[in-house]
Each structure stands twice: as C-alpha cells, then as structure tokens.
Amino acid sequence: MKPLQMLTLTVIAAAAVAGACGGNPPPPPPPQPNADSIAMERARQDSMARADSIRRAMEEAERMRRQREADSLAALARATEAVKGMLATMIHFDFDRSNIRAEDAAILDSKIPLLQANPAVRVRISGHCDERGSDEYNLALGNRRAASAKRYLVDHGVDASRIDIVSYGEERPIAMGSDETAWSQNRRAEFEIVAGGDMLVQP
C-alpha cells in the first residue's frame, strides 16, 4: 500500500469514530419486560426448540434404524435366497450311472460350507431318471443317485442325520421329449430344504 492511500484510510476511520460517539443522543430503549419473564420465555422457547430437535433427532434415528433394519433384513433375505439357490442346485448323472461327475462334485462342494454354516437346515435329496430304463429299475437307480449324493456330502463332513433321500425313478421328469437333451436334464438329483430354511446365512 502506498503512503498516500494509508493516510486517506486513517482519516476516514477517524471521522467515522467521531461521528459514532458524538452528536445525537441514542433513541430510548424499547419497553422491556422484567428479567424473569424474559428468562422464562427464553427457557420456554429453548426447551421447545430442544424438544423439537430431540424429536427430529429421534425421528431421524428411528428412520435410520428402520433403514438399517430393512437393509439388513433385505440383506438377510438376499443371503437366504442365495444360500437356498446354491443348496437347491441340481446335479446330473450319466445314463444308468450313479457316480458323481467332477463338475457335479464341484456343485456338491459348494453346498458343504452352506450346510455347515446353517446347522438347522435339513435337506431331502431326490433321485430321478430318464425314461429310457425300466420303469421299476429306475426306482432303484434314482435311489442310488440320491444315496450317492448324500454319501458325498456326509463324507465331506455333513451330519448324515440332516439328509433324507427319496427316489422318484422316471416318474417326475422336468424336461419332456425323447432326446438326449431332455434325458440328460432328467437324470438328476434334486435338493429340497425340508426344515430350518427360514433364515440362512452365508459362511
């Protein structure tokens, strides 16, 4: 800043101070309520504001709690659905066979931690066949397929008492038609949660 400018600012400031202190008397103060009533009113307003903000805060907290709850319920439901879906994934078999194929072993492997993380879950495995074999023999074959799936799970640490097996032979096809596409879909084991499936957690 240059010296001249500095001087000008100083003069203006001094004039302003002189103007404020001298000259006209101050206007009379407005009528004042007594000190007590002021305090009470202030306290009243303060308390209202406080109550209001508390209410708002509580509302907000409640809203957030609900949101969190909803979020977690949704998450839980999502988890439950995901676990159910993975537990329900079918496995398939070769014609007249009940051995577990490598890709189906992977499906069974993915069920094992889920079963262990949800110890209340009980599963029914049903074995199914395509239409080509003998009607009655297929009851035995379906049974062997279900038993084979169960044995795999039990061998990998799942409690045998949690798994039930049944066979439907060729009585419940999921794919109609008389070609390999339909047959290969029908040669399967299904996994149904029969108990403890309301709320499932992921491991």
Binding site: S134, E136, Y137, L139, N143, R144, V166, Y168
Partner: protein, 455 residues
C-alpha cells in the same frame, strides 16, 4: 398225420373258399353221419389236434342268425386269440346255415377245417356244438348260462364257454376268461384279455405302480408313492377295498410278487445302502425277512417259480442289471440269464412262467428294450421282439402268451405275443398303458367290484 396233406390242400381251398362253399352248400347232398360224442378220442389217439409249428388245426365258426352274431364273434375271437387254430372265415350268408348235428363234413374238410363250431340259444343258455370234422361227428355239446348282451356278465360267460371249447378241442385250458391289470397315468386299470371292458380299479390320486396278482385271482398287490416312499397295498377284487401292508411305506418299497401259495409277498426295498429283496407273511403282516444283502448294489423285481422253491430277480452286482436266481430263503444266489460282461445290456422285469419252464424279461439292445425268454432247463436265451421298444412282459396262465408294452405303433400301448407262432396283436388301442400283470385263471364266480371311471 394229416399235416402234409393240409399244407397242400389248404391254400387251394382258401382261394376257392367262397365259391366252393356256395356251390356245395346249395347243391351237394349232406353226408349222412350219425352224431356221436367223439370225446373218447381224448383218452386215446389224438386226431389232428397236435400242434406242430406251421400246422394248426383248422377251425370254422359256423354262421348263426343275426341275433347270435355277437355271441359267435366273441367265441370265434377268443378261439382265434388262443393261437391254436387256423381260423377259417366263411362268407357271412344265411344260405350257409346248417343243422347243428349234421354237417356237410366233406365240405368243411375240403376247406381245411378240423373243427366246426355251431352256436344256438335256448332260453338263457347258449349251446355250443363242437364238430370233429375229421372224424365226421359231433365231438361235444357244451352249454352255459349266458345273459343278454349288455349284461355285465355277458362277455365273461362267453369267454368261459370259449375256454371250454378250447379244452374240448385241444385239451388245454384257455385264457379267454382272464384279465390284465395295468397302470395308466397314476391309476390301476383292468381289461379283459380281448381288449374289452377297460375299468378303473384303484381310486387314489397317488402314483400307483407294479400291480401283481395273488395266485387265487381274488386280490392283487401294488405299490404307491407316499411322499417319496413306497407303500404296498393289497387290493381285494370283491370288495374293491385295499389295505396297506403294515411293514411297508417307511422306505421305498416296490415290485411286490406273491409266492404261489399266496402266503408270502416278496418285494424290493430301497434304502441308503441300496435296494434289497425282502419277504413278509401277508396273512399276518409279519415276519419281515431280508433275502439279499446288496451293499450298494441293487436287488429287485422278485418273481417266484411256480413250485415256490426259487426266486428269480434282478441284480446290479455285476455292474449292470441282470437276471439272477436264488432259493426262496435267499440262499444259493447265482446268475440265471447268461450275458456277456461289458457287452450285454441291462436286463430287467423278469416274470417266471406259470409252467415253470421259462422266465420272460426285457433286455437293453442298442439303446432300446426287447422282450426275451430264458429257458430254465438249458439256460438258453431267446429274443422274441425286434420292432420298436418292448418291455415289461407278463405271462398268461397258458405260459404261451405274453402281454407287454410296445411303442411299435408309434406310442406305448399293450400288445400280446404268442411265443409259439410269434403272432402279435394289440391288447389295448389307447396309449400310455404300462406295467401289465396278466391274471391267473380267475375264480368261476368272481365278483369284481369296480369303480366307475369318473370317481
């Protein structure tokens, strides 16, 4: 005997049949032969009735008045379905009517007939005269009470009469009055062996399978799915009621089979260890016995030999299902129907013939199923079918006919094959029928309480 002669003359006779019949019946004089019962021949020399492949006795059902058409048709069809005769068709004409006791025997002999059957109605009985054309005499006159057409017993009473005609002419019991149980959709049905009178038997909505007759023909066992388990039932034909077999239903119990005395029921039970054969006493619902110990192989589909001493069954012990046999107490288990390891396909659904000489089953041939018979004495296996997919054979009580499921006509339906001649006929035109069980000879006055189709 006269086989070679017939082989020469019959085709000619067939070609000329219509013309010759008309000419002879109008112009030729009746041969004067005194009617006589020639049934004494049964006990001595047999004439013209001994079956040889390719040569069957000729049989002609004589024309009848229109009112008896249905009677004649049913009788003639039953005799045709016995596959023991060469049925000779005459042109239907009243000019061919003959007296019941005096036939123009040379005429019918010229047509190749060994037997002729006349039918008359006398009141509520139908009288059948069986002529021995070769002997030139009436062989026997049979009569039976036959109600009017439309009466529920009309057909069955004629079937019984046809069986008597067969007994008279061939000396063997017929199967015309027998019936076949089968499964369609989820239910069990019954049909006469000639395809008539299809009737619903079981009433449950659950999936029924594997009906199996009791040897007295008064009840049958079958299996039903109950929540993935198999419950066995005994269904009483007279009352139409059923009762669950107590020890079954907690596991998957299936393929029931009666012992020949009707006291024991063998069946298969599937558990986590595999499928094994058990027996129980069905009179007391007790005494469960295990006959096989599969250890993760399957043993199923038991079928008793008619003497009750042995049980043929299916086992996967070699890796592929094949037919084995054991003593009725489960001992002495051995292979029954020979097979080439790694080559022969899965073999299933064995049923021991009522005469004990053969076991019918089906075998996977190049991805489809065919009906086979195993000759018990020699162990020889013979393939009976080759067209389409053929499965689940069941024996008629004559041990000569088999009902089975075949898709040879485009969809699965029931067919019957005569294993002597290879002749095949459809039993049921409708599709979807499976798991047939041919009845034994049924009790003379069997009451069958049957459900109507809409129940």
């Amino acid at each position: 005997m006269n086989g070679p002669r017939k082989n020469l003359t019959r085709p000619t006779a067939r070609l000329l049949a219509a013309g010759v019949v008309t000419a002879l019946s109008l112009g030729a004089p009746l041969t004067a032969v005194v009617a006589q019962d020639t049934s004494a021949i049964d006990r001595g020399v047999r004439i013209g009735i001994v079956y040889r492949p390719g040569v069957r006795p000729g049989f002609v059902a004589l024309p009848v008045p229109t009112a008896l058409d249905s009677v004649r048709t049913i009788l003639a069809r039953d005799l045709d379905f016995s596959d023991r005769f060469e049925m000779i068709t005459l042109p239907a004409s009243d000019t061919l009517r003959e007296p019941q006791t005096r036939l123009n025997y040379p005429l019918y002999q010229a047509l190749g007939a060994d037997f002729a059957m006349g039918v008359v109605r006398r009141g509520d009985t139908v009288e059948v005269t069986v002529h021995d054309v070769t002997a030139g005499a009436v062989r026997r006159t049979l009569s039976a009470a036959v109600p009017d057409p439309g009466h529920p017993d009309f057909r069955q009473s004629l079937h019984r009469l046809a069986d008597q005609v067969l007994q008279t002419t061939s000396g063997v019991p017929g199967t015309a009055a027998t019936r076949v149980l089968f499964v369609q959709g989820s239910k069990v049905y019954l049909v006469d062996q000639d395809g008539a009178d299809v009737r619903l038997v079981s009433s449950s909505d659950r999936q029924a399978m594997s009906p199996a007759w009791a040897p007295d023909g008064r009840q049958f066992a079958y299996m039903e799915f109950w929540d993935g388990k198999g419950q066995l039932f005994l269904h009483d034909m007279a009352s139409g009621r059923r009762r669950p077999i107590a020890v079954t239903g907690r596991a998957l119990d299936f393929t029931p089979a009666f012992s020949p005395d009707g006291h024991t029921l063998a069946f298969s039970r599937a558990t986590e260890e595999g499928t094994d054969i058990y027996t129980i006493d069905v009179r007391d619902d007790c005494c469960l016995r295990r006959l096989t110990v599969g250890r993760f192989s399957d043993n199923l589909s038991p079928t008793y030999s008619p003497d009750g001493q042995r049980i043929a069954f299916v086992s996967t012990r070699s890796g592929v299902a094949q037919v084995y046999v054991m003593a009725a107490d489960g001992t002495d288990q051995q292979l029954f129907a020979p097979f080439d390891y790694g080559v022969t396909g899965s073999s299933n659904a064995p049923e021991w013939s009522p005469d004990g000489r053969t076991v019918a089953f089906h075998r996977d041939i190049a991805g489809t199923l065919q009906v086979f018979v195993l000759e018990v004495r020699t162990g020889a296996v013979r393939q009976l079918t080759s067209v389409g997919r053929n499965q689940d054979p069941t024996w008629a009580p004559d041990s000569r006919h088999l009902a089975f499921v075949s898709d040879r006509a485009g969809y699965r339906q029931l067919w019957i094959i005569d294993i002597e001649t290879g002749r095949i006929r459809p039993l049921l035109p409708q599709g979807g029928a499976r798991l047939p069980a041919w009845s034994p000879q049924l009790p003379e006055h069997a009451i069958f309480t049957l459900l109507s189709g809409d129940r």
